[in-house]
Subunit: 196 residues, 2 copies
């Protein structure tokens, strides 16, 4: 990374992020540059309470979790299955919306980086085994050169007030707003396991 001019503090974060993700996936490497850029554009530090939206569940959320401290569990990360490599980041706001910065992989800029372009488009010409090292190198060399940003206004989600109710099917409690008619999600549309 040093060879490509990645500053030491960012390189250290990329290593920490890769360890969390369990390997340096292309998507988390790009994500590291995206979050780093978004923090700078927002003039914010990860020590502040920030809120992120990630437009894909693939790889990218982990960069927001590790580098901007917006985690799924601390309720500061929203993941929307839109399918774009894009994030927004904002500071806390009082009203129903907040000013945010949106950083995204710019398809026009990808034309200068043919391996990233093929990988990003899921092109049949991208051969993972033969090209993964070249892809990684190209991502680190590109850094922010494949990214663009825009200032946006995002909707803010407030915590829901709730009371605990007992599901008549399983006898367990869930928040009232998650009851599906006469049963909880686990006994209804979210059923995902059977007892052995």
């Amino acid at each position: 990374m040093k060879r490509h001019g990645v500053r030491p503090a960012l390189a250290e974060q990329i290593l920490r992020l890769s360890a969390f993700h369990t390997y340096p996936a292309p998507g988390v490497l790009i994500g590291a540059f995206m979050v780093d850029y978004a923090l700078e554009l927002l003039g914010a530090s990860p020590e502040e309470k920030l809120y992120g939206v990630c437009e894909t569940p693939k790889c990218l959320p982990d960069a927001l979790q590790v580098m901007a401290r917006c985690t799924i569990g601390n309720n500061r990360l929203r993941i929307l299955p839109i399918g774009k490599f894009a994030i927004t980041l904002n500071a806390p706001a009082e009203g129903a919306t907040a000013e945010a910065v949106r950083v995204y992989v710019d398809l026009a800029k990808l034309k200068e980086f043919p391996t990233i372009d093929q990988w990003y488009a899921n092109s049949p010409s991208y051969d993972k085994e033969a090209m993964k090292d070249r892809l990684q190198d190209e991502i680190i060399a590109a850094g922010r050169a494949i990214l663009s940003f825009e200032r946006v206004r995002v909707t803010v989600e407030r915590k829901k007030k709730w009371r605990s109710v007992t599901c008549p099917c399983c006898g367990e409690t869930v928040p009232d707003y998650l009851i599906e008619g006469d049963r909880c999600g686990a006994c209804g549309s979210r059923k995902y396991y059977t007892k052995i």
Copy 2:
């Protein structure tokens, strides 16, 4: 934690998890004991490739992410908005289902721990400011004593095959399976920002 007999390796993981979550929330503390228990029941190490399901987005997913290395971004964590403090954990499986262990907060066992019981039920009698230290102490003292488990069979989700398609509204690309009729989610039902 030492006073309550938490073994040093688990105590260290609880500190690491609390740092990731940004604070030692009650839900992540309980989550730490849950993941630790699930790993033991499964006879698995976090170095293995494990898959987790979390039945709430609140706090608990962070324990699976940090301690079992099932992250949102690495596609080994599914979050279902059921509203229960429960997780399942399984090793990789070939077929359409996998044997898993489900660990959950057992409501009957909570009766021995009145502060946790009030907090878990979101009871009006739980006063966060006055009782949060007692709650934390009770959670650490309880450890696994509030948990139960069952062996279950979970459905396995495979990666979707996809090709990249261009949204006619915004001109950006998304995976084909995320197109909503004639537009992408960001131009359709998932719209969450406006440009400034």
